[in-house]
C-alpha cells in the first residue's frame, strides 16, 4: 500500500531522514513544510493521504490546529512531537501521536498502521509507540 505523504517538520535533518524512511517504504513524499501556511498551501494544491505533523513549527506551536484542519479536509493526520502532552486529550478527526525521539522502525509501523486505518482495513493492535486518539 503506497501513499502520498506530507511531512510537516521544521527540523531540516529530521525531515530529510523521514523522507528517506518513507521513500524506502515505497511511498511518495508529496512535500515538506516547515510552517503551517506552507502546509495548508500544499494540501490545497495536491492530494495528500497522510500528513506527519510536528507541533512546534517555524511559526510557533501551530501544529495542533493545523492537524485538526487537515483532518477536516480528509487527510489522515498523525502528530509527531517531543511534546505529546499538548495533544494528550486528543484532537478531533486526527489519528494519534508518535512521541519524539523516535526511530525508523517506529515510523514505519506507525505509518503502516495509519494507512491501514485510512482504508478501513481491520487492525487489531496499534504500535506501542503510537498513542491512538480513537
Amino acid at each position: 500500500m503506497t501513499a502520498r505523504i506530507l511531512i510537516i517538520e521544521d527540523e531540516a535533518l529530521v525531515a530529510m531522514e523521514l523522507r528517506f524512511v518513507l521513500e524506502d517504504l515505497g511511498h511518495e513524499v508529496a512535500g515538506v513544510a516547515a510552517d503551517a501556511r506552507t502546509a495548508r498551501n500544499l494540501v490545497r494544491e495536491t492530494d495528500i493521504d497522510l500528513a506527519l505533523v510536528d507541533i512546534h513549527l517555524s511559526d510557533g506551536p501551530t501544529g495542533v490546529d493545523l492537524g485538526r484542519d487537515l483532518a477536516r479536509d480528509g487527510v489522515t493526520v498523525m502528530y509527531m512531537t517531543a511534546n505529546p502532552g499538548m495533544v494528550r486529550n486528543g484532537v478531533p478527526g486526527t489519528l494519534g501521536v508518535l512521541s519524539k525521539p523516535t526511530d525508523e522502525r517506529a515510523v514505519q509501523t506507525a505509518v503502516d498502521y495509519a494507512l491501514r486505518r485510512r482504508v478501513g482495513e481491520p487492525v487489531q493492535f496499534a504500535p506501542p509507540e503510537l498513542q491512538v486518539f480513537a
Binding site: 523521514l18 513544510a33 517531543a82 525521539p101
Partner: protein, 163 residues
Amino acid sequence: MSEAGGGLEQLIYISVAEGPAESAMQMSDILEEARPNNARDGITGALTAVDGRFLQIIEGPPAKLDDLLGRLGKDARHRDLDILERRQVLGRDFPGWDMVSPRLMPAEVNKLAVLLDEDRRDLDAYAPVFVEALMRQGAVLEQHAHGSRAEASSLAPNSHAEE
C-alpha cells in the same frame, strides 16, 4: 574579541548517551528543545553521536555557554560530560544553525571515532568533520527540494543567529 565586545567562545564536549542516538530522529527531542533556547542566547553549533557517545560543538557568548553547560550537566539523557576544549574564537563555524545534527557518512563517523580513541581534545581536529558534512548535506537537501519554494523555506538554516 568580537560579537559586540562580549567575546565569542567555542567548545566541544563528549558525553555518554543514555538512550539510542544514531539518527537525527533519535535525537529529535534534543534538537527541538535546544533551538529556541539557543536562538535566544545567540548559541549555534552541531550535535552528533559516535558509538553511543554524544559529541557536540557549541559556540556563543561565554556567559551563555556557561548557562548552557549548567543545563547540560543536569540533563538525564547523558552522563560523564567531558569538555575536550574551550577557546576564544573570532568567528563561528556554524553560523545560522541554532543546533544541527549533520548526517555523517560512515567514513566520517569512523574519523570521529578514531580521534576519540586517540584522546584528541582539540577543536581543530573535530570541527572540520562537522563542517564538511554540513556542506555536503546542503547539496543533498537542495537536490531533494525539487525547486519547490515550500521545501526551500523548510531547509534553509535558521537566521536567528544573525538577528
